[in-house]
């Protein structure tokens, strides 16, 4: 107790924590007796590769599906996409993930049920994305993790398309004789990217921070699994360090999202403020 400083009053402990944290030290793990932040950073790559893969999946599939559903809202396929996205929202994540394991790992035996698989180092980054075995391992957890975000992207894209299509500038683009493909991919898409980027940015923070369930189900050796283990061992400094890291990351992501706005929407660029305005 004494060695860990747990005998002191709680406010004293807090001030010591704050003083150390400001110097970049968020404490040592009770269990491993190593700096908590090192433990987390060691697991960060595994979580990042899972979150990034899930995010890419959500966008690569979500935006085209949302575009289709927005362009053809009355068609059977369009309705099915929208109905499917509701499932993506409302089915509990852990149930879907266990079902994925049941179907693809147990019944069909196509993909491994858990673990990270082989890793390889490329350009100084060690990741399971660089080996075939690793890729096979990441498919199920990444799919499971991406479903919610994908459903969100689908609904946002389709709502954006339906809102943008009746605008005058779309009609004008058609009246200019542009091909339909250009009208959709440039004139419509660029206008609806702003809400998508906002949500995707915030979702990415969420994906990284809350992979806890996914990592537990697929026994993926990432930060989320570490968090659950630390909670079980009452390893408080690791939990605190985790929360500090995730909070910092959210701030960072919000900043990036704001900067991306300026790239996407000329109206929010400060340097252009001298225009005639509307």
């Amino acid at each position: 107790m004494k060695a860990l400083g747990l005998d002191r009053p709680i406010w004293d402990q807090y001030i010591i924590f704050l003083t150390n944290a400001l110097q970049g030290d968020v404490g040592r793990s009770f269990v491993f007796n190593t700096p908590a932040i090192d433990l987390i950073l060691l697991r960060l790559p595994a979580t990042l590769e899972l979150a990034i893969t899930a995010l890419i999946l959500a966008n690569v599939l979500g935006i085209p599906l949302g575009l289709y559903a927005g362009l053809k809202p009355e068609s059977v396929a369009g309705r099915s996409v929208m109905a499917g996205s509701i499932l993506g929202f409302s089915l509990p994540g852990f149930w879907v993930k266990v079902s994925l394991i049941m179907l693809f790992a147990v019944e069909l035996d196509w993909l491994p049920a858990g673990g990270r698989g082989e890793t390889a180092t490329f350009l100084g980054i060690t990741s399971s994305l660089f080996t075939v075995d690793g890729l096979r391992h990441i498919i199920l957890p990444a799919t499971g993790l991406s479903l919610f975000t994908m459903a969100l992207v689908i609904r946002l894209t389709s709502a954006g398309v339906r809102e943008t299509l009746p605008m005058d500038f779309i009609k004008f683009a058609r009246a200019k004789g542009l091909r339909e493909s250009r009208v959709i991919s440039v004139h419509v898409l660029k206008n609806i990217l702003i809400p998508i980027v906002t949500v995707v940015g915030l979702e990415f923070g969420g994906l990284v921070a809350f992979t806890v369930i996914t990592e537990s189900i697929f026994s993926w050796p990432g930060m989320g699994k570490l968090l659950i283990d630390s909670i079980n061992f009452l390893d408080r400094p690791v939990i605190v360090a985790y929360i500090v890291l995730v909070a910092t990351m959210f701030i960072g992501i919000n900043l990036v999202v704001d900067l991306v706005y300026a790239v996407l929407d000329p109206r929010v660029r400060l340097s252009d403020a001298g225009g005639a305005g509307t």
Binding site: G177, R182, G277
Partner: protein
């Protein structure tokens, strides 16, 4: 007719804008073109394939919209929006297209077009944006421009400038113009011919002087008399009583009969176009065409 200006007049909801969109095949669903022909240089545009129609749009027929604040895509630069129009119809390099775009901006009176090309729509005023839209419409020296109330959203001084400039540019290029408006004074100033629309139909057509000086349809007559300039100061403005019927439930026969003071049992049948006695090019869809302001 090449180089001629047609004024398409009517009150809100009379079908002027839809007429413009129909010509370009841009009627929005669930609307569709039921019947008839759209003749352009002798060929029926309704028979054109979607790709042929696309190539005609912006190239041989272009359109200027009503609200310049809404016609340019807010997130694309002016040069992008002009160059894509050029390259949709002509195989030329990006750089050559940019030069064409710059010249086009200069022609519609935008100062320092080189710098303005890289600007975004929100950096332009309404009048400037409409000039950009006009420059885009003129890029391919079209045979026809459909201008859908292009000056309605602008203030009066800019209105006059744009009006005279479009007229000048069309004359230079030999472009025919359909000027859609509810403003008779604009039409009087620029149009060679006038079509008056009511409830989705053309009710009177003729040369500008002929129609404005001797309107044959009671509706046209009513329109002319409701312009303040035609009344003695101090006297109440003449109005056309009632409102236009909904296009979904048009009355049997002449659609204007419920508001027309000359209506009688004859008007229960739909009137055909009839030439006005004095001028064979001046026609009206009425059973009781006016002559000198009175039923003949």
């Amino acid at each position: 007719m090449r180089g001629k200006i047609l004024g398409l007049v009517g009150e809100s909801g009379s079908g002027k804008t839809v007429t413009g969109f129909s010509i370009l095949g841009l009627v929005e669903k669930p609307g569709r073109i039921e019947q008839g022909r759209i003749l352009f240089n002798g060929s029926d545009l309704r028979r054109a394939s979607p790709e042929e129609l696309r190539d005609i749009r912006g190239n041989r027929i272009s359109m200027i919209f009503q609200d310049p604040m809404m016609t340019l895509n807010p997130v694309l630069r002016i040069d992008t929006q002009m160059i894509e129009t050029i390259r949709a119809h002509k195989k030329i390099s990006y750089d050559d297209a940019r030069v064409l775009a710059r010249d086009a901006l200069g022609k519609v009176g935008i100062p320092s077009p080189d710098e303005r090309l890289a600007a975004y729509p929100h950096q332009f005023s309404g009048g400037m944006r409409q000039r950009v839209a006009i420059a885009i419409a003129l890029l391919h020296k079209p045979e026809l421009i459909i201008a859908d109330e292009p000056t309605t959203a602008l203030d009066v001084t800019i209105q006059a400038q744009i009006l005279s400039e479009v007229q000048k540019l069309c004359r230079e290029v030999g472009t025919a113009l359909i000027w859609v408006t509810h403003d008779l004074s604009v039409v009087a100033a620029i149009a060679d011919q006038i079509c008056v629309m009511y409830a989705g139909r053309i009710v009177e057509r003729g040369s500008t002087e002929s129609v404005l000086d001797g309107p044959s349809h009671p509706y046209t007559n009513g329109l002319i008399h409701s312009v303040p300039g035609n009344n003695r100061p101090g006297t109440p403005l003449q109005q056309i009583p009632g409102v236009m019927p909904s296009l979904l439930s048009l009355p049997v026969g002449c659609s204007f009969r419920q508001r027309c003071r000359y209506a009688d049992s004859m008007c229960m049948a739909e009137p055909e176009f009839n030439a006005v006695e004095t001028n064979r090019d001046h026609i009206a869809r009425c059973w009781h065409p006016l002559a000198e302001g009175r039923p003949a």
